[in-house]
Symmetry: C2
């Protein structure tokens, strides 16, 4: 089959790859895939991955699955878990100690004609959720992970720092709480999308220090973190929704004195993400910036890497 191949931070389009066939995993024909910041960071050497990248997708089950699954549209959780370790046995399978991660760690991903995943990872896509929405299930679930981890009260003040691909989804999931949300957005298109969805934006110089009950950092930059920490009130919650390249130097004493709760936030629940798109309480479609045919994945990655670029999609087949 054909797929994008990543090796030593270089990508190339290969047409000589075997179909992914693993014991106990359904074969899935990829319909649409999305490019995420993590994919870009892998091409920049942040993760040492060799293989087919890509983890955001919607596809169709075509083989190696019970008859009732064949032909069904699915999205898939990206953590392949052992089921036996302490994390798996105590309700935290996304933290499985022996996990592989689709297109990120020890498991070929979805920038390919076909991919494979265990049935347990798959979620059926409701008929009224089109492919262009379903492909956002994974990042929307990640955005929802904040609501899963933290009790955000409707009466609270929330600052979201950053309005990129993940930030704009997080803005929508935070807005659902009814809280007084303000988003620090940099680019005109981000601000336009937010305002169209009735979400308030703020400029950096308008942010009042120690004023927010919850601050969500979604830039993955040291400057973003510093700004987030400054805006948070004592006893507030600081949720980290992006990974940081390299180390970050923190004033830990300030966290202690102010009794700050710091929460790292990664993968989230798929089922509610699908529910919220099905009922149109979340609409990711405005985030789509460009679409490429799958065999132009390298060019798509390049475009996705441009500053302020939102979601770039890859479509498999005509």
């Amino acid at each position: 089959m054909q797929a994008l191949w990543l090796e030593k931070q270089k990508t190339k389009w290969r047409t000589d790859l075997p179909l992914p066939q693993q014991e106990g995993q359904a074969l899935i024909k990829v319909r649409l895939a999305g490019i995420c910041g993590t994919d870009l960071e892998m091409t920049r050497g942040y993760y040492p991955f060799t293989g087919i990248p890509g983890h955001e997708f919607v596809g169709e089950v075509v083989a190696n699955a019970p008859a009732e699954w064949i032909g069904k549209r699915v999205v898939g959780e990206i953590n392949l878990t052992c089921g036996n370790c302490h994390a798996c046995q105590t309700g935290s399978p996304t933290h499985c100690e022996n996990r592989s991660v689709l297109g990120i760690l020890g498991k070929d991903g979805v920038f390919a004609e076909y991919a494979s995943l265990p049935l347990a990872n798959l979620h059926l896509v409701p008929d009224d959720v089109p492919d262009e929405m379903a492909v956002f299930t994974e990042p929307l679930a990640a955005a929802l992970e904040i609501n899963q981890q933290t009790h955000i009260q409707p009466s609270q003040r929330i600052l979201l720092v950053g309005a990129g691909r993940l930030g704009l989804l997080t803005a929508q999931t935070l807005a659902l709480t009814g809280a007084d949300l303000q988003v620090l957005a940099r680019y005109p298109r981000q601000i336009e999308i937010l305002h169209n969805q009735g979400i308030a934006t703020i400029r950096e110089e308008e942010i009042r220090p120690r004023a927010y009950d919850v601050v969500v950092e979604a830039t993955g930059s040291a400057a973003g973190f510093a700004l987030a920490q400054k805006a948070l009130r004592p006893r507030g919650t600081l949720a980290l929704k992006s990974t940081y390249a390299g180390n970050l130097t923190l004033n830990m004493s300030a966290l202690v004195v102010d009794e700050i709760q710091l929460i790292g936030s990664r993968c989230g629940p798929f089922a509610p993400a699908l529910r919220l798109m099905q009922s149109r309480r979340v609409n990711p479609l405005p985030l789509i910036a460009a679409e490429f045919p799958l065999n132009q994945a390298a060019q798509a990655l390049e475009q996705a890497g441009q500053r302020g670029m939102l979601k770039v999609l890859l479509r498999n087949g005509g």
Copy 2:
């Protein structure tokens, strides 16, 4: 001025009442008022209230207020607080020990041409929230109080028992969490509204016992409570969103053994209710069942008291 007057459970339309003039309270011309279950219970003797009933409204500030408030559309919090008691001083003003409550306790309400409230109780209504939405601010805030009190996680299963006036608003605020929500609704119109909003309904015989993480009881009936308790899982949360006429006999040991968290829930935060309507994340308009001119308030109350009747509104002026 003219208003509906309640005395010894009887209502009459009076045209001889003075304008409400209280020190430190803005005079408000009522534009639209809503009839709630509590109003009906007062006419049935559940609360011993003499005066003008009604507490759901949107109006216009016309006097006894700083110039910048005059002519502005407002909604108003219903608890008039002392500011000095322990509850007021510890951030729980809706529990003020010396409170009066608009149209319910020691304070004339809004089924009248004019009403009065302290400025501190008022919230400006954004231009793009029409009167027909704004009049739902108080009950929507009450629905949101559950999200304020309880951390509902997107991955949880929630059962809402009851889909009346308050239940249908609660269904919308619970659906925003992304949780797997099922609503036990009795009447076809309730089911139709819920399905139009992408919210699932369930029949009583389909409810699995001990299966729900959170159950919200919004019927105010003993049967509803029993059903709610049966559906809740051990260590689950049971939120009581309706008042109960008379006493309820509980199996308290079952609550203890199963470590159930029982939460009474009353008034909620206005600002997020307005935000959610302004951004159309909540739309109360389908709940409007009928509208009467203010001077037909008695007939309106009668209609509102019919089984399965949703929101009946009273309009002041032409």
